[in-house]
Structure formats: C-alpha cells, structure tokens
Symmetry: C4
C-alpha cells in the first residue's frame, strides 16, 4: 500500500529493497519474511540452549559464535530497514522497530558489561513478527476475523481484569486476617498472590490454607473464581458472534473509496486495498 504512490517513480534499488523487506505481496517479500522468522526462531533456540548449564559448558563457544552471527545478520537487516524507508525515525520508534533494536543491543552491551548477554532473551519479543507471517496466504481470513472479534473485547476484558484484581485484593486481605502467618500467608502481598493463583484456578499449591477456617474461606474464593471465569468467555463469544454478523453484512461499496463490485468472500477492497470490515 505504501509503495503505491511510488509506482510511477523510477524503480531504484531502494524501492525494490523496501518492497522485499516491508511488503509481503511479492514472492521475494514473502520469502524474506519466512527466512527472517526462521532466523529469529533459530537465534532464540540458541539463546535457549545456551541458558541450559550443561549445554553451555559443552557448546558455550559455539553458541557464542552463533549469537554473534545472528547479531551481525540482524544488524545488517536493521540498517537495510533504515535506509530503505522514507521516514527512518518513524520505524525506529514504532513498536516493531523498538523490539528490533532491543534484540540487537544486548550483544553489543556484552562487550562492555559482562553478563549483559543474558538480556538476549528479549529476542523472544521478535517472535511477535509471527503475526506478520500469518498474514501470508490462506490464514489471512481467520486472522483478520479473530482480530476484528477481539478488538471489541479488549476494553470489556480490561474492566473485567481490574474487577478480578479488586476481588483478589479484598479476598487476599481477608485471608491474611483469617489464616496463620506461618502457613505462607505471611503478609498481604503474599496473600493477594495466593488469591490470584486461586481465582484463576492455577493452584500451584506453594501456598495453601491449613487451618479449618482458612480452608472454608478458600473454598468460597474457589467457588467465586469458578463462577466468574465464565464472564470473559461470555464476552468474547458474544463479540465473535457480532464480528461474524458484520462479516456477513459486508457492504457492497468500499467504505474507503466507494467503489463496488467485490466478491462475496472479499475482506479487502480490490480497488484500494483497505478493509471492508466496518
């Protein structure tokens, strides 16, 4: 889309680079995206394996070289991204841009500060690029549909989570009064942590009530958690149904360019490329 206004310009190397790196509707663009994701995944696997002590002792040097190789690769990618875009600062301060930078810094920091390398785990955030890959090919419809459905739920779910947190603070405070200090409920933050573990039905068991009165209160907390777990489900189910309805009632006229003639299963305007949703 962004490449459209450039169409009539001379197709120089920067433009072609932009198309490969940022777009995914050309063959080269798709290949680049898939290759990049593999490189990200491989670099994370290296960081993962290096964190295992026994493997670090045996293959530590090999992992170190691989990490520097990936760092070099991602540095080149980062520079190419900078020079192939019109407004480099916009990319630098975008979410994906900041994550890309965050994935590079630890390696260079480790030259100066010993141990900074452990920050390499932030590379895991680059996995978020997987959602770009999803957009390739046949997954498009489902992803687009799910995104539309969940967009409407975010605010409702936030309110719900805030409510759960309030309930957890209140129930945790009550439990702090009720249960013995020695049984893990040694202070209020600890008790609130227990309340969250319980309401979400995770239930590690690292802290669990011991006295009869504590078990009684805990049973009530569990039943409450059991009943309210249904609320986010209800909200999301409802929003998915809503999104489906909208999908069926997709307008014949594009809401952006007002041109007609779209297929029944079209999700994007074939004239201007903008979403036909809402």
């Amino acid at each position: 889309m962004k490449s459209r206004p450039m169409e009539n310009e001379k197709k120089d190397w920067r433009f072609r680079l932009h198309e490969v790196i940022y777009e995914s509707n050309t063959k080269a663009g798709k290949a680049f995206d898939v290759a990049l994701l593999f490189a990200i995944f491989a670099s994370i696997v290296v960081v993962m394996l290096d964190s295992v002590h026994s493997l670090h002792l045996r293959f530590g040097r090999l992992f170190n070289r691989a990490e520097w190789l990936f760092t070099a690769l991602f540095t080149v990618e980062y520079i190419l991204r900078l020079i192939s875009i019109r407004r480099p600062w916009r990319y630098v301060f975008s979410l994906l841009g900041l994550i890309d930078l965050l994935a590079l810094i630890p390696s260079y920091l480790s030259i100066v500060f010993v141990g900074a390398q452990s920050l390499l785990v932030f590379r895991a955030f680059r996995l978020l690029r997987i959602f770009r890959i999803f957009k390739l090919g046949e997954f498009l419809t489902e992803i687009h549909f799910l995104q539309q459905a969940l967009k409407g739920s975010v605010r409702k779910i936030s309110i719900f989570l805030l409510t759960v947190l309030t309930i957890a603070i209140i129930l945790g405070s009550v439990m702090y009064l009720v249960e013995e200090k020695e049984n893990g409920f040694s202070n209020i933050p600890e008790s609130i942590y227990w309340a969250i573990v319980t309401i979400t039905t995770v239930g590690y068991g690292d802290i669990s009530p011991v006295t009869p009165i504590g078990k009684f209160v805990a049973s009530i907390v569990m039943l409450i958690g059991y009943a309210i777990i249904a609320v986010p489900t209800g909200i999301i189910t409802h929003d998915i149904a809503l999104a489906l309805k909208k999908r069926k009632e997709l307008p014949e006229v594009c809401p952006s360019c007002a041109r007609e003639g779209h297929d029944d299963d079209a999700l994007f305007c074939k004239h201007c490329g903008s979403s036909l949703f809402r």
Copy 2:
C-alpha cells in the same frame, strides 16, 4: 440526579460540597472521585507494605504516620459526607457508608486495643469505589452493558453454585470412605474441601489421592468437574447475548418519563436521567 430538585434553591456551600463529593458529572466531582481513589489505593499499599515483616522493621514508624495521615483524611471526608447530605443516616447505613466507617474504626481502636490495627486490611473494601470511577467517561457503556448482562445471571449462577456444593459434599463423602485417612482425607470437611479444590480445577495438591481406588474416583470427579465448568459459561454467554438484543431494541420512549427523542446510542433518558434499559 439527586441535585436536580435542589436546582432552584440557593446554591449554598453545602450544596456545592454535595455536588463535589457525591456527584461525578462536574469537573470538580470527577477530580474528587479520582483523587479519593488514589488516596484509597495509597493507603492500602501502605497497609500492604507494613504487613511485610522486613519492611515493617525498617519503615514501621513511617508507615504508622502515613496510616494516621490517611485516617485523618478519610475522617474529614466522612464528616464532610455526613454534613453535605440531607439524610445522613441513610448514608451511614448504606453499603458504601458502612465500608467507609469500617475503614476508619481500626485506627482509632488501635489506641485502646493493641493489634486492632491489623483490621486496617478492611480498607481494601473501599476499593469497591473503583466501580464509581468506572462510571466516569468512556467506560460507561461497557460497564452498564456488563451489569445488565450479569444481573440476569446472578440467580441462575447461585443455583449452579449450590448444585456444585451439593455435588462436592457427596463426592467428598464418597472419597472419605474410599481413600486412606493418612493421605489427607482425615475427616469429611477435609474431603469436601478437597472435592471443591478438584471440581473447580484449582488443584493445589496439598491433598491428593494416593491409593489406586482413590485415584480412580478422583479421575471421575475431575472429568465431572471438567464437564460442568461449562454450565456457568453457557449461562453468562446467553445472558450477554440477551442483553445485547435488548440494547438494540431500546425503546424510543423513556420507560420512566415517557418522553421521546433519544439518540441511537443513548443508554439513559436525556430528560429524566433514568436508564432506558428495560
């Protein structure tokens, strides 16, 4: 809304105070509500941190002073609430009024009774005021919608929870017979506690079956719990869908004052302020 009949009266300081403290549709009222919630939250954080032994040893005196500061603040707020309302007793015996009082008493009690200060955790209940804050601004629609949806579910969920409790009592009693006393199932209340922990899928693991027959019965209990967890979800999903339908069919005529002319997205009557829902 309550201030409406006062409109033609002389706008004295008590009226303006009422507007700031109880209403939230003026700028001062909104600011007061937000500031109050911050004060509540800060006072709870102080109580929380004070409950951590290591922090209590180091900052105990500081926390104590902060707690008295907040107590003074909330006492002033409580008195202002009393003198700015027409029928003070009604506020005193309302739910929010009782919680406000409950948040003050422990501090004063601690002068006479050592240790009464630990009751300060009841301040957590004041967090319920967060639902008033929600009403401010843009969250209004979602909150109102969720409340409508859940109102219809309360009774059905209550029946469901009573049923789960009955099942837990029966299954707990059976497990008490089946499993060895030494493995944690030492008496029936304990076994019922285990059944609730299991059916709600919390699963602490503080009590878990050890004998083969016990594990067999527990597996059945888990599968039952797995199947019935779906019921409250189904109920709430259904009630949310129902509330949505109602929202769409909001009457053109206000059910309270029978006046017309409301916008499509209006949730409250613009003439009398009462809900257009049902």
Copy 3:
C-alpha cells in the same frame, strides 16, 4: 398432579398425609419439604463433625445421640411415606426411595457390625432432595429452563468425555514410555491418572514430569487440554440458546391437553399442569 385423580375421593388422613409429604403446592407441603431439608442438612453436619477426630473425642456421645435421633426421625418419615402412597413398592425402588433407605440402614447395621456407622456419609446423597426445594416458589423458571437446556447436552457431553478419556489413555501411555519410572510414571494406570489431572487443568503436582523430554510432551498435553476444554462449553452454550429459542416459541396450545389461553410467561399448562416445553 398425582393427587388430582383422588380429588373426588373422601379426603381421609392418608390423602392429607400424602399431600403434605409428596406434594409441595400446599402450605403444609412446602413447610414439610423445607423442614425435611433442614433435618437432612443437620444430620449431615453431625456426621461431618463426628468424622473430625478431635471433635469425636470431645462430643462423640452427643453426636451419637443426635445421629440416633435423626435416624428415628427419618425412619418415621420413611414409614409415613410408605403408608401414604398407593403403590409403596414403586417408591421403595425409585431413586429417591433407595437413597432414603440407604440413609437409614447404616445406623441399624452399626448395632451388629462395629464401624458400619461410617457408611452414614451416604446421607449426603439425600441432599439431592434440594432440587425438589428449588422447585418451590420463584426459582422454578430458572431451574426448569436450565434442566431443559442441559437435557439436550447430556448425550453430546458423554461422547465428549469418552473422547477425552481415549485421549488421556493414549497420552498417558506415551508419557509412560517417555518419562522415567521413578518420577511417578511408574505404570500405565498411574500415567493415565496423570494425563486426566493434566488435561482437566486440575494439576495437583503429585506427579509431574522431570526430564526435559517429559516436560516437552507434557507441554503438548497441556496445550491440547487447553484447546479442548472449549468444546463442552460450546455445546452447552449452544443448547442453552436453543432452549431459550424454544421458550420464546412456546405453543399457544398445550401439547398434552390441546387447550389454549396460556400467559406469555407460562411454562406449564394451566389446565392440565403438564409442561408447555416441547
């Protein structure tokens, strides 16, 4: 309803007794049902408390007397039930009749066999009578509605549970091969128990994978369990929606007696008393 054909008979004491004990549409009948449920609940609480060792030592004799009192009471109730009904054997072999008998036998058995008293926990099954109490008064609509909704789900949920069991057997067998015997996966039934604990997201932690490969397989098992937990919910939500639709389309003509004139919110035919549902 059963009392209807008797209406023209002489209203002798047996008939009136039947009305009090079996029916719940008269004042005396309602009072009897509520009183009975309280007696059942009290008798269960006594059995519960008696199972707690420390309480048994202190109040054992008191509990024993209370248990005999309740046994006498329930025996009288059982005899009254037998003589006030036309076909006593039908009641004896009905589900509720068998449970009523099961709640009596242990006490009398305990005279001959020491320890038989522990079977008194079966009294918990009498709590199922709570669903009769629900039918009293205002809960009727919700209970009736939920029953209709869930009736259609039973078969689908059964298939689902059988599928989950099959998956648990397969995954448990795989885990038995993969994980070390010493880590709790000592035999296949044990591994299947673990798989059920995991898929249902209970997660006691009494058995949990220790080796890397075991943790990897367990992660897959958990993600599978996470995904399929949605199926029963989907089924029940759908059936509740279906039941709601039916409720709205309740026929104007009773399907049993074909008479008309029912109110919009009527669930039962006002002429013959049979359900208007389906």
Copy 4:
C-alpha cells in the same frame, strides 16, 4: 459405499469378508466392530496391568500369554483386512492401517530385542477405532454434528495455540530474567515449561515463583492466561452455532447426486449415501 461397484459381481467370500470387516451397515459388520473394540480394550487393559510392577511379578506369565493371544488375533485380522480389500497398499499406508501395524510389531520385535515389548503401549492408539463404533446407531447425529462444528474450528484453534506458544516463550524468557535460578527457573526452556503450565491454568507447583518480583510477574501471567482462555471457547461456540444453522438449512437436493425427497432430519442422501452437509 466402496462395496457398491461390486454389487453386480459374484458375491464371493472375499466380498462378504470385506462387508463384515470394513462396513458397519450389516448386522455381522456391526458385531465385528464391537467385538474388535472389546478385544482392543482388553489387550490394552492387559498391557496396563502388566506395567504395574506388583501385578507383573504375580501374573507376568499369564499377561505374556494373553498378549501373544491378542497379537495372534490382531495378526489374523490384519491379514484378513489385506486380502479382503482391492488395493491393500492403500489400507497399509492409511492412518488406521499404520496404527494397526504399529500395534502388531512390538510383540514380534520382542523376540529379537528384549524390552521392545514396552512399545505395546502404542496399542492405545487403536482405541481411535472407537470413533467408528460411535457411528453405529443413535450416536450418529451428534457425532456428525460435532465433527462438522469442530472441522471449521481446527484452523482458528491452531492459530490460537501458536499465539499462546509465542506468549509462553516471551513470558517464560522474561521470568527467566526476573526469578532466581535456584527456584526452578534454571534455564529458558524450563521457564517456558513453567509459563505453559501457568497460562493453561494447570499449575502443578513443581516450579513456582519465590521472590516478590517473580510472584508479581507470575500474577500478571496468570491474569493474562485467565483472559485468553476464553478465546478458543468463543471460537468453538461460534462454530457450533454456525453448524447448527447449516443443519437447519440442509438442502432439499443432494449436493452429490442431485436427487430430492429427503426427510427433514436426514443427514445423508438416501440415494447415494453421501453427506447432505454442505
């Protein structure tokens, strides 16, 4: 269906054998399927019990003979399947064919390699034949309906699980940085395992946060897991509702053979036997 083109051929023993083994619409075919499932179940029970050490010591030889008996039985069945079908290789390389073979090999391998017998647990996979049994008789409608409903969900659920996995990798990496190495978060794969255990609300408690900051991050992880557990439920509920709608709008004309005259509750064309669904 496959037997149809053979109809005009001479009904030789191979054809009749095919009908019994592969089809389930004749009496003999149904009986064979049920008997086979019982044999599979019995053979799995034997493998299960043999894996229990104490039982192996007492009945080991008996179990060994039973295993060889079942192996012989299944070998005969496998050979009959091969000779009664037109294209044997197609069956051999089908999913069910491979599972059938996998269930035979371990026994024969155990003659050469000691211990290969433990692979007999793969027989559990033959339980998947239970879904064929389901198709017999009255469960047909529900199974067919559920299959249709879930078919549409598979792709969406896959995307969802991939997303959960990405979130687990990111959160696990963050937790590795935040929590002490001694508390179980000794390396990144271990931390990711913990994140999956937590997000899916299984919560074994074998690894759980110990430091305050770790508990804080864990609480956030739990609340996230609590909120997103609703997504697959929403998807499946929606797809079940969709399948139901389709079921109601079943075409009057068979999509395969274009002949009419089907009953309202028909799921398959009565002329050609193919599904009327879509």
